[in-house]
Amino acid sequence: MKMIKLILLLAVLGVGTTAAVMYSGVVNVAADEPHSDFVYWILEETRKNSIKKAAANIKVPDLTDPELLLSGGVDYEFMCASCHLKPGQRESDMSLGLYPAPPNLTVPDNNDDIQVERNNFWVIKHGIKASGMPAWGKTHDDQRIWAMVAFIKRLPTLTPDQYQVLTAVE
């Protein structure tokens, strides 16, 4: 009996605190005000593990076909570079203004694991909730998305001149 009372009390307390936080308006949702380290850690771990699990069984095709770089390059320049930058560029409105910030995809992450390709494919296709990252799978087929994955894989090695040629429309 005592146990049940205690659990009930805790439940009421939990719901009460949540409601108080929600309705009092104390949570700051401004993008120019970073999360506390603790909240950031919670969100980051949740995102990482969610993507890893969802992407675990994706079959990665051959990504070395040069045609992929051409398709992926044009798409990247047109749809992604504003947020994820291009060789020789260090910041943009989006890279500075968005929170969570879009990662700079032109810097090498020194991770050769195939899981990176799986994660990237999944993120590009499905996007990330409550962040600036859109789900491109609604408007682009898997082939187009794999091409972007292939392009991103080589992006950190590209010079600005190489990038220009690969991503130009013609």
Binding site: T64, D93, V165
Partner: protein
């Protein structure tokens, strides 16, 4: 007199310092970043001697530039043209046809 001068100077400083700081952050923001134009691949900078032709990046660049060269040839029928034509003056002609962005399915 001196005190007045000091006041004026500090007033000017009060206006100028924030103005300069603000305008400096504004220059960090290049307006050209807002313009999206479809550019042609700049194939003139390619140095074939430095390219590893087994590298997918090099192959892809060659493909793009070959397509571009072919396209600009296809635009004109050279067989019907006067041989005296100065091609160096013809850049404008193919640029007009080249600048179209075919990425309009969004």
């Amino acid at each position: 007199m001196k005190k007045n001068l000091m006041k004026t100077v500090s007033k000017i400083a009060l206006v100028l310092i924030p103005a300069i700081t603000l305008s400096m952050t504004a220059t960090a923001h290049d307006p050209s970043l807002h313009v999206k134009k479809a550019k042609k691949a700049d194939c003139s900078k390619m140095d074939h001697s430095k390219m590893d032709m087994k590298d997918p990046v090099a192959i892809a660049m060659m493909k793009k530039c070959m397509k571009q060269a072919k396209k600009s040839k296809d635009m004109m029928d050279h067989s019907k043209m006067d041989k005296q034509m100065d091609h160096s003056k013809m850049k404008k002609v193919d640029k007009k046809n080249m600048n179209k962005d075919d990425h309009n399915n969004h």
